[in-house]
């Protein structure tokens, strides 16, 4: 069985601070980390492999990312934690991609790795919150798709069974392979790397490829391949001030009781 886990490098802190005087972003740097939802996806893949290994079956786990060259360090860390191999799509031509252009790039990467039985991704990235990549990949690869997976129950040769969240509650769902699963963060916590894993990862080759090398269509990646454009970013205006409830805490509490009675 072949599993591809898609990971994204995100800032260690998503709390971007604003300078109140200049109204500009304060960059406090901070190292990139693997998006925590994607880390959970990797852990689910590793657990599935252990289960299958006990049954005497082989599983290849590839990690795939699109990002700047420095992302190689994160992919090496994924290998230290148990991934079999890694592919990093890194090229200036990929920059400025929205979810559609990212999907095209990742689709090319997945084809390069060899069509998998399962594609796992985090339910969403903590820095973008769009939750679009998983279902878009499923559409692009013509695979079944289950989002918000809470637990992987079983994975046979032609079907995967999972618990997944939805509008009606948590459901037990069976999907045909090949399948894209997007994973909720609470499903598992990624294990620490073993010493043997770290040593092996040091010498492991992270395959780094540019757009042309994976056959990506230049018109469908990066800025050129992105239908959406950010036309304006702004600090939201404060609305008109509300009523101030003043006095000491006892007086404030008394006024609040009256306000609550009035409004609801």
């Amino acid at each position: 069985m072949h599993i591809v886990v898609c990971v994204k490098a995100v800032p260690a802190s998503t709390e971007v601070k604003m300078d109140p005087v200049t109204n500009t972003i304060v960059r406090d740097g901070g190292d990139a980390v693997v998006n925590p939802f994607d880390a959970t996806a990797l852990e689910l893949a590793l657990r599935l492999r252990e289960k299958r290994r006990a049954a005497g079956e082989d599983t290849r786990i590839s990690v795939l990312s699109m990002g700047i060259p420095a992302t190689e360090r994160l992919l090496r860390d994924c290998i230290a934690r148990g991934a079999t191999d890694a592919l990093l799509l890194s090229d200036r031509a990929f920059a400025g991609a929205d979810t559609l252009a990212t999907t095209h790039a990742l689709t090319c990467g997945i084809r390069e790795l060899g069509m998998p039985d399962l594609v796992l991704c985090g339910k969403m990235a903590v820095d973008g919150d769009t939750a679009q990549i998983g279902p878009e990949l499923a559409g692009a690869l013509d695979m079944a798709c289950v989002t918000d997976v809470r637990a992987l129950v079983a994975c046979e040769h032609d079907a995967v069974t999972v618990y997944a969240g939805g509008d009606a509650g948590v459901s037990l769902i069976e999907a045909t392979l090949p399948c894209v699963l997007t994973v909720a963060k609470e499903a598992a916590t990624l294990r620490m790397p073993s010493i043997a894993g770290v040593l092996a990862a040091e010498h492991a080759a992270v395959d780094v490829r540019g757009a042309a090398e994976v056959g990506a269509d230049a018109a469908r990646i990066g800025l050129s391949g992105s239908p959406t454009q950010v036309v304006r970013s702004f600090v939201p205006e404060q609305q008109a001030a509300g009523v101030e409830v003043s006095g000491d805490t006892t007086a404030q509490a008394k006024q609040l009781v009256r306000i609550i009675e009035e409004v609801a």
Binding site: Q132, E136, T161, Q229, F234, V235, P236, V245, I259
Partner: protein, 406 residues
């Protein structure tokens, strides 16, 4: 080749672009700005430039967009076949946009084989000019892939200018599947939707950069333009007094469009445990929301007590869920549950944009926070600056002594 361009004749090397950039994507050398390889084309520098020296060059050929018309709204039904409230909120918003564009509003209603006709009538009464529907066993339970195939077929044939979806769990799975098949743009979790009357360009605004900035996003060269909106965000736009419609009047407005006979669901729901908490805070009439400002986990019982005294549900901000104080279904905000209660009492919440976006549907907000500068006060109707724990203690005492216990 597309890219960030700096007009050398205009740039004055003031470096405001460098300060505005969150990515290190631009630098100033020899009093001239240069984009670096870290640029992600977010456009922050363009807005910051005082002399309009920066632009993003794109090399997409202009397509003929004039054939695209009308605004479509996806109407999701629940297990009982009733349309979810978010569809009516979107219909209300779509009506306002359609009035500016002088076009029609169309509801998309995939449902099971035994339709009563009630959802269609309700959608028309609440603002849909037409309803496109399908009665098919493959739509029970709703299957995102089946729905996406159905919508894509219709969109390729009828060419809508805009499609809006509620950002329910299902909508968030469905919309990207449609976007990738139609190769068009999709903006998640919009908090504002406006339209350019002349061009039909949809201005989609959503929180960005971890919630400290808002970004307005457009999809200039592809159609349909697509956006998802969290339930509750446009609660004020939902039609308050639906018109009465007779069966005859709706007849020509309902078009049944069959699903491709060869389509087979690849996902089977074997069993469902109904949701508990998540649904209850989304629909709560009264809600207490607590944030990091309550200081310590030991104050949680007090918060539960005030919620009980107010007959309210308890919600919280993202950091509290991340710290493990409360479970994820309690999380209020863009990445948790969007809420629209009559009364929201916010305690020790500073108010990141993503949280504020999730509570914008609340009718009355009372905010209690020690920090008078906290952004939550920007949207609160009643502002209580002071020690949250002390005020809540007093409030609990007042409420419990004033009200006869149930």
């Amino acid at each position: 080749m597309a890219g960030l361009r700096v007009d050398e004749t205009r740039c004055i090397g003031c470096a405001r672009c460098v300060r505005a950039c969150a990515h290190g994507g631009i630098k100033v050398e020899h009093r001239l700005a240069h984009p670096t390889d870290a640029c992600v084309f977010c456009g922050a520098c363009i807005d910051a430039c005082p002399v309009d020296a920066i632009s993003i060059e794109r090399d997409e050929a202009a397509a003929d967009l004039s054939v695209y018309r009308d605004i479509w709204v996806f109407a999701q039904v629940d297990k009982g076949g009733a349309v979810l409230p978010v569809a009516f909120e979107l219909l209300g918003r779509a009506r306002a946009l359609a009035a500016q564009r002088a076009c029609a509003v169309v509801a998309l209603l995939p449902q099971g084989p035994n339709g009563t006709g009630a959802p269609e009538r309700e959608l028309i009464a609440c603002g849909a000019d037409r309803v496109l529907t399908v009665h098919d066993a493959r739509m029970v339970p709703l299957d995102a892939e089946m729905c996406a195939g159905w919508i894509c077929g219709l969109a390729q044939q009828l060419k809508p200018e805009i499609i809006l979806y509620g950002a329910t769990a299902f909508g968030r799975e469905l919309a990207p599947m449609v976007a990738v098949r139609l190769e068009t743009g999709l903006t998640a979790d919009c908090t504002r939707l406006e339209i350019d009357e002349a061009t039909g360009l949809l201005q989609q605004t959503r929180p960005a950069f971890g919630g400290n900035l808002m970004a307005t996003i457009e999809c200039p060269a592809r159609r349909p333009q697509m956006a998802t909106v969290r339930p509750g965000v446009f609660a004020g736009d939902a039609c308050a007094c639906p018109v009465t419609v007779s069966d005859d009047a709706v007849k020509d407005k309902i078009v049944t469009c069959p699903l491709d006979a060869s389509a087979r669901p690849r996902v089977r729901v074997l069993a469902t445990e109904p949701a508990q908490q998540g649904a209850s805070i989304a629909q709560a009439k009264r809600l207490v929301v607590v944030g990091r400002g309550i200081g310590s986990k030991k104050h949680l019982p007090l918060m539960q007590r005030i919620a009980r005294a107010l007959d309210a549900e308890l919600g919280c901000t993202r950091p509290l869920v991340e710290a493990g104080w409360l479970e994820y279904p309690h999380q209020v905000g863009q990445t948790g549950v969007s809420v629209a209660p009559e009364l929201l009492v916010s305690i020790g919440v500073s108010g990141a944009i993503q949280h504020l976006a999730g509570i914008s549907g609340a009718k009355t907000i009372i905010a209690i926070n020690e920090d008078a500068q906290a952004p939550i006060f920007g949207i609160a109707h009643y502002q209580v600056v002071g020690d949250a724990i002390e005020i809540v203690n007093n409030l609990v005492r007042e409420l419990e002594s004033a009200a006869p216990r149930l």
